[in-house]
Symmetry: D2
Subunit: 164 residues, 4 copies
């Protein structure tokens, strides 16, 4: 009964890596294909990299590009990997665009490349919510999901909360 | 919008460990609490160990115990971790019991304690399906879900398939 | 000041993997090249697989083959990866052969492919002892080294001990 | 035949962690005890934290403290974990101090807390060199060792090289 889910990559903590020479975090390539392989994923889930940035650096043009990608793809169900800092803003932009599709944004608190990441769990969760939730925009993080218009990030404790 | 999900542990590959002295696989304790911690899980998901066995060793009395646990718990949404070899048989027993709840069975192809396990992905997936699927019995493995009465395990290639 | 060290692979816990279809441990390929890559090893350490077996299955002909490989290689310093169960017997065979080289046997309590292995530590240790110890046969496990003629495995607690 | 080795911790890449809230690297606690546990280390190797800093921030007073610690400890064999950027400077300070002990500095290119670190390998290597090298100051990285007065870090490619 599973339907294909398009995966759009935008960067975020998910895909950060450690630069051995410079001793700092950076982006190189997306880990999504490797994660789906490790997950032995049997769902049709084509991955497409839109950008590779920290979500604090995401601007209106980047969000417009994400909206267009969601509109233009063949699939009616979409997962977007995204930095958590401005995930809510992108959800709002997708809501305003009214694509009529089921779109689930997800991310990670710790980079996948590091040992103790929540990324694989969140990816499994987002791909599952995307298959069964009705059209709309959602955030899926750490086992929960939130409607895109009723969620905020509590930066002090680093988690998402439902708003009134 | 997330609702609590009860997690019942029965063993299976998920929880197998390596016995350093004997050089073979064995069961010791469940890794579910550690996995939920790593996932930074914010969903209310109380874990209860029912048994700790290879699913090839599961008998009718064990299945009856699983059915009773599902009937008796307060939650209407349940995830069961289970060996893949007889997961379908347990799904059939749960279907016959008609609990009226949403029950999702999941497992792993590789033990969580080993480096390259699909367990964390499957757990995130199962907890998500359990929150949004209507009452029924389902299997969730490797990104897909199957109705409990229309699935079989293809042992030659180690994956689940939907039946007619 | 570092000198090249030949690495001979014989199997053992080091290289055991998990067979997803059969649900048991097996040998497939050696992990030594991957381990040296992860270690960013800058020492010249050519790897050669002699056999890929559980050391409980090692017979006199296998040990003769190991002795011949040590005699025949160009390097004067050698590390042998080996199952721990009969590591002492192989050390005795190498001592009897009096190769005049520095030979260090090492192994692991937990397979490298699993998350919490001592393998990488033991490999770093063995390669280091092999560079500086005088000619002789040694076991290197878990931070210590033992002369090959004064060591036994305490099977009850799974560690090596020096004998009188 | 193994002798106790004192381990002094000074920080460096070895012990860097990922700060989930701030999204950057930081120091919290040393991973050395956890690493020795994973290594199932049977060598007497008491760990003492001297400081927890990036070696680029290490000043003369810090180096003096390291020298005093080496002088003052009971053990004649010492391993120091250290950032790679100024490891050579600290080696020079220890050489000048002429402690008469065997001192091995080591570090990591990737934090131990991340999945693909060389830290465990380097720790096994340093503890082994420390047991068998004659009194002096050495660097041990990535399978090789260098006398403290004949080594430099090639920052462009991130490795240590022996000098004339």
């Amino acid at each position: 009964m599973s339907q294909p889910v398009r995966v759009f990559v935008t960067g975020g903590t998910f895909d950060k890596e450690y630069d051995e020479l410079a001793g700092r975090l950076f982006f190189r390539k997306t880990h999504l294909p490797e994660m789906l392989r490790l997950a032995r994923c049997r769902l049709e889930a084509p991955v497409e990299k839109l950008m590779m940035i920290d979500s604090l650096d995401m601007n209106d043009a980047d969000r417009e590009r994400i909206v267009e990608a969601c509109r233009g793809c063949a699939e009616a169900r979409i997962v977007i990997t995204h930095g958590t800092d401005t995930m809510v803003e992108t959800a709002r932009a997708l809501l305003a665009a009214a694509t009529g599709k089921t779109i689930v944004l997800t991310g990670a608190m710790v980079p996948y490349a590091f040992g103790s990441s929540d990324g694989l769990f969140n990816l499994g969760s987002a791909l599952s919510f995307a298959q069964v939730l009705p059209p709309g925009v959602y955030l899926a993080m750490n086992g929960r999901y939130f409607p895109g218009d009723r969620v905020r990030k509590n930066r002090e404790i680093g988690i998402f909360e439902e708003t009134g």
